[in-house]
Assembly symmetry: C2
Homo-oligomer: 67 residues x 2
DNA sequence: ACAATATGTAATGTATGTTTTACATGGTGA
DNA sequence: TCACCATGTAAAACATACATTACATATTGT
């Protein structure tokens, strides 16, 4: 699962910490997701899409693994 | 978080077990999600949307909690 | 040089998502 | 009635998401 949260953040000119507060998680969580350490919960994905006023698919790209 | 997996299943005339195999989880997982015991991971949400050929937002409805 | 800010990172603990195994119940068809 | 199928459910174990605390590094402005 890839994401472009960093780009969305840049578009909105905000730091990881600012975004984290807006979506109700910690800075470390945003950082870890941006760096691909793990994927967010569906709830957090919705929060991010809601905040950036876009669709989840506009932030996250899912690569099908098996055929 | 609400979902209408049951409706999508009905549209495609398939059982929980059939769907679970298609998206690569167990029957119990589909059952638990349908019954609202917990929300799926973002990955599973993508798998479901991919299988039903729709958007995640067409299956899951997220209710904003704070303001 | 110093302070402040943004980001990376690591350890520990907790909560939640998922599997496995197993059993129970209700409906349906022979 | 009996067998079969779909669904509900529960416990244990494991994997992952997230919080908290803490420290490190790089950049920037003064």
């Amino acid at each position: 699962m890839k994401n472009n949260i960093k780009v969305w953040r840049a578009k909105n000119d905000m730091t990881q910490e600012e975004l984290s507060k807006k979506v109700g998680v910690t800075r470390q969580t945003i950082n870890a997701i941006e760096r691909g350490k793990y994927d967010p919960s569906l709830e957090l994905a919705f929060s991010l899409a809601s905040f950036f006023d876009c669709r989840i698919e506009d932030i996250f790209a899912y690569e099908q693994q098996k055929e």
